[in-house]
Assembly symmetry: C2
């Protein structure tokens, strides 16, 4: 039996505890001894960027990533410019919060033009990467599960994310490996080898059987059928030893008292990751 990941590597992704505001997440992490968080932009905006950055710093927490930039495919020039502006703001926010990683959810195709969407995504990252580099932020391309292609991302395999990332400097663009999104892929092992040196984030949750909800039906680690420990080891073999974000999007879990959910997360992180 291989040993579990040390709890020091646990980062709490904010959406996992969506019943909490950002200040509540920060306090909850401090109570539970969790040293790292991964906020989303909307709850940061609710508190205000400067206030959020101060609260996080005052609590002594690190920030593993900011979720999210992306959504590159756009109809027409003005929509494209709006997306670019928003992505530069996301970079600014990441820098202000003190994280080096902006997660990219690349956006769905417009209508039936999947190849066009993928080309727009590549072009969008190309426009954003220099700005991000100037601000000390790496872009983390996160491939999403193919069932999310219509609403979230035309980038649905790790291989494609790695192909994209390899067009850029390793210091500028990498990939985010979320076990939930990639575990099914028969090419996973091979693509993680190719991703060596490019992995800027690792996320965990579990695949429930049956899965009834495409967006909010992820499972707590240990409740599903993903061999999370094996994937963690493959990710580590590819050179990544940074924070492991727990990102469980599950509406049942959002009904639990936050502290109870956080305790369960810590327990399952030790047992299953």
């Amino acid at each position: 039996m291989t040993s579990s990941a040390p709890l020091e590597r646990l980062s709490l992704n904010q959406i996992t505890v969506d019943q909490w505001t950002l200040p509540e997440v920060i306090e909850g992490c401090v109570r539970a001894g969790i040293a790292t968080i991964a906020p989303w932009r909307e709850p940061v905006a609710k508190v205000g960027l400067d206030a959020a950055a101060r609260l996080i710093a005052d609590a002594g927490l690190s920030v593993s990533s900011l979720c999210r930039g992306g959504f590159f495919p756009a109809v027409g020039e003005s929509e494209r410019r709006r997306a670019d502006d928003d992505n530069r703001r996301a970079v600014d926010e990441a820098a202000a919060l003190g994280t080096e990683v902006l997660v990219l959810v690349c956006g769905p195709p417009l209508g039936r033009d999947l190849a066009g969407a993928r080309a727009q995504i590549a072009a969008g990252i190309e426009r954003l990467a220099p700005y991000a580099a100037q601000h000390g932020v790496r872009l983390g391309i996160e491939p999403l599960h193919p069932m999310m292609i219509g609403e979230r991302s035309a980038i649905v395999t790790l291989g494609e994310a790695v192909d994209l990332a390899l067009r850029f400097d390793a210091g500028q663009v990498g990939v985010v490996v979320d076990a939930y999104h990639v575990w099914w892929d028969p090419a996973l092992e091979r693509e993680l080898v190719r991703a060596a040196g490019r992995i800027v984030g690792f996320h965990v949750s579990d695949w429930l059987v049956p899965t009834l909800d495409l967006l909010q039906g992820r499972g707590m680690m240990g409740d599903g059928i993903i061999d999370l420990r094996r994937i963690r080891q493959l990710v580590e073999a590819a050179g990544y030893d940074g924070p492991i974000e727990v990102e469980v999007i599950n509406r049942e879990l959002w009904r639990l008292p936050g502290d109870e959910l956080v305790a369960l997360i810590c327990q399952r992180f030790a047992a299953a990751v």
Copy 2:
């Protein structure tokens, strides 16, 4: 604008008109001028195999495939034997119905052992293929969408299905390309080239946005975002010019009067496929 597929190639997959019994499907196809059907085993069993074969033959219909064998991963020897027995019966039924193709839905992993499931699937096909060949039936490995991995199939990419098929004689084992299951794959074009000479079936439906149901939320052709015409042309370029099965699994459509649904299918087949 490329021309649409001729209606002579349309095969009606039975589950598309699940509001109908098999005799009703047969009569409905005759009324609509559809020459080919693809029955499922359960509705065939309800009528009785011999009676079903006779009804289909008397109506002058062809059978493009029988759905389905597979579900190879098994716990222990007796469960494995039961699955093998059932798969041989599926071959017998395909032969009795006069179709050369048995569709394989390969079965989900048992627990977290995805690699083990894939090995059991390969071994199961190896045991079944000679029996199928003796009965004049080709096995069609159908990769399913990765969202169905937990309940239906550990084979979730066309590439993996092609890899499996290539271990066998082209006359014995091929692949079934269902646009709904494979359209998202950035490797689709490449894998269809590799599949040349191995494609034993082509299925169409559409990917709805949003998709709310993992199993029964497929769309009528033209209602979603799959570029079906392009995929059909790629499939044809790979040498397949056989029946095109319309397999739309959608509970809303099951509420329509059968004849109305069949008319819509014919119209959309011409417009979108």
